[in-house]
């Protein structure tokens, strides 16, 4: 039976094509001049350049973290190009008609049509290709509601005060090694601002695509939800199939002011490398949200790609009665390694957090959940519930759980539940006896295992996530 599973898992990566787009790419290497050049190309204000340089100087003093349960060769940061943009973007297109058709075809191949009339109704998309944002849809409609949704490079020009006010407030530029690197060299990403009391009229979504060889992608996303506002945001990621490893070090900052709610969903399908572990994306990402009074931040992630993942979307529950949620599905196969989880930092009174993590390991992969729940001295009556389930497929993979619990308030309650199970021969046999092929059977069992998390995704994307898992498990081309 395990042979069948192995076959079922020997899938192809169907987003692995390379687009023939003429690009302007910096030579590999990183120093202060590179940062100056990058900042100049983007026409950034002086304070931004200073901020970047400070981050760079901090980064030089930091060392790469080694505590994660992952293993990869040392990265040569001088061997990476820190900027790549499609040439046709130089004079930024004013409408879709002016966008390089090859770019549009790229996104269509990925199943993300950027023509508004073809799009899922009610989803606005910002498409980021290598280092720059190529197009953002439905902007006018959003503007009517007062919602700002644009590339962060554009926000630096149009809304510098807003960016300056919040950038680095949740993830300080020296927070950790990869966050410092990102702060120094981030190229683009999305900026979202929801005014007071506004319920964002549609789902917002960003699709990240790494295309160029030997480039890193360092996007920075900043979402600010003013008092009493609501926004649901989704990011998706893919990359071509290449033999070299590529670095993706993003930073996402969420600010939820009093009574605001941010729902942030990720469907991550970066190229995971081939079956021998050659190539693939290093996904080293810092994501954190800050909740003021009665605010709520909910992270939902479906992680199927990347060679190595290092990612802990977190919530700082500063305001009283604020709520943090983390729902995660992380699937690893082949030689993939994932060390992912969350941090829930309870500071305010009666703060609540829920963590549901589903790890699925197959092939020779390693899948670790790492989570911190901290109850601060002021977290009167705070509560956390953690459920951490692992599913093993085959007998050569690993699942690990590293929960950290720190409580400085005796009235706080922390609950932790963990299970490990296997896709059993009995389950597969039952499915096959009822006419399902083994691939379908495995994907159905895995989907059932993930149900609690998929329920949290926006409807359109729940379907997408289910399909992605199916493709990840099936070996069929898409």
């Amino acid at each position: 039976m395990s042979e069948q599973i192995d076959q079922a898992l020997a899938r192809k990566y169907d987003a692995g094509f390379v687009s023939e787009v003429e690009s302007e790419t910096f030579p590999a290497g990183l120093d202060e001049d590179v940062i100056r050049r990058l900042s100049a190309i983007k026409g950034e204000p002086e304070w931004m350049l200073e901020w970047r340089l400070k981050a760079y100087r901090t980064w030089l003093k930091l060392t790469e973290p080694e505590w994660a349960h992952v293993d990869y060769p040392k990265i040569d940061y001088q061997d990476i190009s820190y900027y790549s943009a499609p040439k046709s973007m130089k004079d930024k297109p004013k409408s879709l008609d002016e966008v390089d058709p090859e770019l549009l075809r790229t996104y269509e191949k990925l199943g993300i049509p950027l023509h508004e009339q073809e799009m899922l109704a009610g989803v606005a998309v910002d498409a980021v290709f290598d280092s720059v944002s190529v197009v953002t849809t439905f902007r006018e409609k959003l503007e009517e509601a007062g919602v700002i949704f644009c590339p962060i490079s554009e926000a630096l020009h149009k809304y510098p005060d807003l960016v300056k006010k919040y950038l680095g407030t949740v993830v300080p530029r020296g927070d950790n090694y990869f966050a410092a690197l990102n702060s120094a060299v981030f190229t683009d990403g999305s900026f979202v601002y929801i005014p007071k009391g506004v319920r964002c009229p549609m789902e917002l979504s960003t699709y990240f695509r790494i295309n160029e060889q030997n480039t890193g992608q360092f996007e920075r996303t900043l979402i600010v939800a003013e008092e009493g506002s609501y926004v649901s945001y989704l990011e998706g990621c893919t990359a071509p199939q290449r033999d070299e490893n590529q670095l993706h070090a993003a930073v996402v900052e969420l600010v939820a002011l009093d009574d605001a709610e941010i729902k942030y969903s990720t469907v991550q399908n970066w190229y995971p490398g081939d079956e021998n572990g050659k190539g693939g994306i290093y996904n080293f990402v810092t994501k954190r949200g800050l909740c003021e009074k009665n605010a709520k931040i909910s992270w939902t992630q479906v992680e199927t790609g990347s060679a190595v993942t290092w990612k802990y979307p977190s919530c700082i529950l500063k305001g009283d009665n604020s709520v943090g949620e983390f729902y995660s599905v992380a699937l690893t196969r082949g030689k993939q390694q994932a060390d992912t989880g969350t941090k829930m930092i309870h500071l305010g009174k009666n703060t609540k957090s829920t963590i549901i993590s589903k790890g699925i390991s197959a092939g020779y992969s390693n899948n670790a959940y790492r989570g911190l729940v901290r109850m601060g001295p002021g977290a009167e009556g705070a509560r956390n519930f953690t459920e951490c389930d692992s599913l093993l497929i085959g007998d050569k993979c690993g699942a690990h759980t590293f929960p950290y619990i720190e409580s400085s308030n005796p009235s706080a309650i922390v609950e932790h539940e963990a299970t490990t199970s296997k896709v059993s021969d009995d389950q597969l046999f039952l499915c096959q006896q009822r006419g399902l092929d083994p691939e379908k059977a495995v994907s159905m069992i895995v989907n059932g295992f993930c149900k609690e998390v998929f329920r949290e995704l926006p409807m359109e994307f729940a379907v997408e996530a289910g399909k992605l898992l199916e493709i990840s498990l099936e070996g069929s081309v898409g």
Binding site: M1, S424, D425, D426, Q427, F429, L430, C431, Q432, Q433, R434, G435, L436, D437, P438, K440, M444, I445, N447, G448, F449, C450, K451, E452
Partner: protein, 253 residues
């Protein structure tokens, strides 16, 4: 429908079936009885192609095709159904989703269109009703938290929905009280249409009071040691399996 010739099969290193012959024609109900360890459940697993159950020699033809060359799901799609003695749970997958995938996989294999949601639901409701299961049963995870009796009824519900050519019931009576037994039997009997064949595997004669077989076979030490009509089951009830100690010796199946 099904012809088994000189079947030998083993589980791991142990040969369990040792020269079994059986011929089943369309519409017939064959009961297979025997003591524990006789190979009753093994027969069901071998016929449905379960991994780890290896055929050493012999032939099995199912509707004219070589059954032993087919994959598990191909056998199922060809119309071979096994009602499990101990149905396994699939957490998070609802009965409804599971059956919909299953019904449509079968239809696809036959070259038929998938059922629409409305058509499927109608069929599922009827099947539930026949085995006396409430409708919200469809929303629950496959066998998740089901009682023993519910699991058995659920198997029969699947049988009704999948309309197989040959159904093998592996001790569908074990652990059931008389009322539940009646429900299971009624479900099975409703599917007897003169075309569909059944192999009813059971330890006790009790089930055969409700599902009347055309033939009864006694399986002992891996082969059929005695065959007869329904009256043979009564004999077993009266005298148990102790006589097999002698009958097994030198008797050709």
């Amino acid at each position: 429908m099904l012809t088994i010739k000189d079947l030998h099969a083993r589980v791991e290193e142990k040969t369990i079936i040792k020269g079994l012959n059986l011929e089943i024609k369309p519409g017939e109900v064959h009961a297979i009885m025997g003591p524990n360890g006789a190979g009753k459940s093994t027969l069901g697993y071998v016929l449905s192609g379960r991994d780890g159950y290896e055929v050493e020699q012999g032939e099995v033809t199912f509707k004219g095709a070589n059954l032993l060359e087919m994959e598990v799901e191909e056998r199922a799609q060809a119309g071979l159904f096994l009602a499990f003695q101990y149905p396994v749970e699939i957490p998070g997958v609802s009965n409804m989703e599971f059956m919909k995938e299953s019904v449509n996989a079968m239809r696809k294999a036959r070259g038929e269109d998938e059922l629409s949601s409305a058509e499927f639901l109608k069929k599922a409701k009827e099947a539930c009703k026949q085995v006396n299961l409430p409708l919200d049963f469809l929303k629950r995870g496959v066998n998740e938290g089901f009682s023993g009796g519910e699991k058995k009824r659920n198997e029969i519900m699947q049988l009704i929905m999948l309309e197989p050519k040959l159904a093998i019931l592996d001790e569908s009576d074990s652990g059931l009280d008389v009322d539940a037994l009646q429900v299971v039997a009624n479900g099975v009997n409703s599917q007897r249409d003169g075309e569909r064949s059944f192999i009813v595997v059971t330890h006790y004669q009790r089930l055969l009071d409700f599902i009347e077989p055309d033939y009864v076979h006694i399986l002992a030490q891996g082969k059929i040691v005695k065959s007869g009509g329904p009256e043979l089951a009564k004999e077993v009830e009266a005298s148990g399996y102790a006589w097999l100690g002698q009958a097994d010796e030198g008797e050709e199946a």
